[in-house]
Structures are given as structure tokens and as C-alpha cells.
């Protein structure tokens, strides 16, 4: 048994880039999303159920996979609205503009270990940023927002 703990800051890290190399964990130009409260990697195969008269139970066949990354975060100004000093275009534009412009991004989610170390496992892919809904409340003190990456294509697992 080898549970994958998330007790250090370099695990469960979402990195976004304007190209696949810039989205690899530890990439110098990678946009590492800060202040994430929770993150979910969803790899869900589509299914269709059908019934036949000769069986008391329904049957199923699979269709295409529908993959997504969803998370909740505290809003960081330079990540939400852009940082002109960066070389990664997604970071220059910020999450909000990238979502509004429907720009395709590349991403990776590191599961364990420090970026670039042997044995690190991460999943990667490309997709579109959506689901941003910054909200503020008098008791909340800071802006909070959910976010989703609607994956375009398949998630790939990489072990370094």
C-alpha cells in the first residue's frame, strides 16, 4: 500500500502553460496556480445503458471519455487578471481573460513528489478554462472562485 499524501506544498499542483513544455511540473515558465483549496481530476468514460428482454439487468457500452479538472481557490490578482512580466502567455493574460477568449491551454496536475524528481507522477492534457465564478461575502474576507478545465482530448499519465 502506498497512499499518495498531499501534506507538502509540492503535491497536487496544477501547472498551466501556453504550450505543453510550459505546462510540465517544474517548468520555468509554468503558471503554478496558487492558493488552491481542493482539486479534482475527473476521468469519466461516457456510457450508454440498454436493456434486452432476455436479461433482468441492464447492459452498457462505453462512448467517449469526458475529462475535466475542477478546483476551488482563493483569488490571486496576478493569476486571475494577468502579469505582464511573465513569458507564459496564459500568465500574461490571466485566467479570466484566457477563459473569456476561449484560448486553449496546456496543463498538468502533479500527484506526488517534487517537480522533476524521479518517480513523480502527473497527468497532463489540454483544454479550455471555464467555471470561473469569483465570489465575495462580508464574512469571507477574500475572493474565492471555482475553476474548471474542460479537457480537449485524453488525459495522459507520465511518470518521471
Amino acid at each position: 500500500m502506498a497512499e499518495m499524501n498531499v501534506t507538502s506544498a509540492n503535491k497536487a499542483v496544477l501547472t498551466i502553460g501556453d504550450s505543453a513544455p510550459n505546462a510540465v511540473p517544474g517548468a520555468a515558465a509554468g503558471m503554478v496556480i496558487p492558493l488552491v483549496q481542493d482539486i479534482t481530476v475527473s476521468a469519466a468514460p461516457g456510457t450508454v445503458r440498454y436493456s434486452v428482454l432476455s436479461s433482468a439487468s441492464s447492459s452498457a457500452f462505453t462512448t467517449v471519455n469526458e475529462n475535466s479538472i475542477s478546483l476551488n481557490m482563493l483569488v490571486d490578482e496576478l493569476f486571475m487578471f494577468g502579469d505582464s512580466t511573465k513569458s507564459n502567455q496564459v500568465h500574461v493574460d490571466g485566467l479570466f481573460k484566457t477563459s473569456a477568449d476561449k484560448t486553449e491551454v496546456f496543463f498538468s496536475v502533479s500527484f506526488n513528489g517534487a517537480a522533476g524528481t524521479t518517480g513523480e507522477i502527473y497527468v497532463s492534457g489540454k483544454g479550455f478554462i471555464g467555471g470561473l465564478a469569483p465570489s465575495a461575502a462580508v464574512d469571507a474576507a477574500v475572493w474565492l472562485s471555482p475553476m474548471e478545465i474542460i479537457v480537449n482530448g485524453e488525459l495522459a499519465k507520465t511518470e518521471t
Binding site: V6, S8, A9, K11, A12, V13, P34, L35, V36, Q37, D38, I39, M73, L74, V138, A141, V142
Partner: protein, 131 residues
């Protein structure tokens, strides 16, 4: 100390219209194991600020957002059997001193009382939350 000074100034202003009531800025307000607000009735004593850092949000990259909770207590003792006729107004005025803090997340004020022998001690507690 700034918050305590602000409260002393505000309470002084708020109760200035009530005869015989005053505010002391003395520290400590204890003499020979006895609280001075029991000895000096109708005098408000304001304690030093007690602060606490409360974790509001925890994130996976080990950053946190904290909220600072500051608590200021004030004490007032009067004769329990023959309370001043305007004591309710005085209590309300002292509670209203919470408004001296102008940019908090939240300011609350409450009052509790304790009767001992022939006197009653009102304990005021102001709670200020700031991020």
C-alpha cells in the same frame, strides 16, 4: 496600545454627559490584590488588548489566510443596592464605544455583570476581527 487608547478616548467622550462617571487610563488597575474598579466605583478601567490569530483559510500550497481577533475588556463597578438611575444609559454609551474602530471586518460588544457583596461589576468586552 493604540486600540486601548482609542477605546479610552471614545468611552471618555461617550460618558462625558453622565455626572460622577469617569474613565481611568491607569495600568495596572490592581492594588494589593484588589481591583481598583471595585475600590473606585463609577470609574471605567480599560484593560490591555488581547490578540489572537485565527486561521481563516488553508490552501494546498501551505499558505494560509489569517484573521486577527483583538479583544478589549473594560470594567465598571457601582453600588448594587442603590444603582445610579442612569446606569442603563451609561452601559449603552460604553457599549457604543465599539464604533471607534472604523475599518474592521466585524466589531462586537457585549456586557456581563457580576454581583458580589453590595456591589455590581459590569464587564464589557469588545471583539474586533480584521483580516
Amino acid at each position: 496600545m493604540a486600540i486601548r487608547d482609542d477605546f479610552i478616548t471614545q468611552i471618555t467622550t461617550d460618558i462625558s454627559g453622565y455626572t460622577n462617571f469617569r474613565v481611568s487610563s491607569e495600568l495596572p488597575f490592581d492594588s494589593g490584590g484588589n481591583s481598583l474598579y471595585i475600590k473606585n466605583k463609577k470609574t471605567v478601567y480599560v484593560n490591555t488588548v488581547r490578540e489572537e490569530q485565527i486561521q481563516l483559510y488553508r490552501t494546498m500550497d501551505q499558505n494560509s489566510v489569517y484573521q486577527t481577533q483583538s479583544i478589549v475588556q473594560a470594567f465598571l463597578t457601582v453600588d448594587a443596592k442603590n444603582q445610579p438611575s442612569n446606569i442603563d444609559d451609561v452601559i449603552q454609551a460604553i457599549l457604543n464605544a465599539k464604533n471607534v474602530v472604523t475599518s474592521p471586518q466585524l466589531t462586537e460588544a457585549l456586557v456581563d455583570n457580576d454581583i458580589e457583596d453590595d456591589y455590581i461589576t459590569y464587564t464589557f468586552e469588545y471583539t474586533i476581527l480584521q483580516t
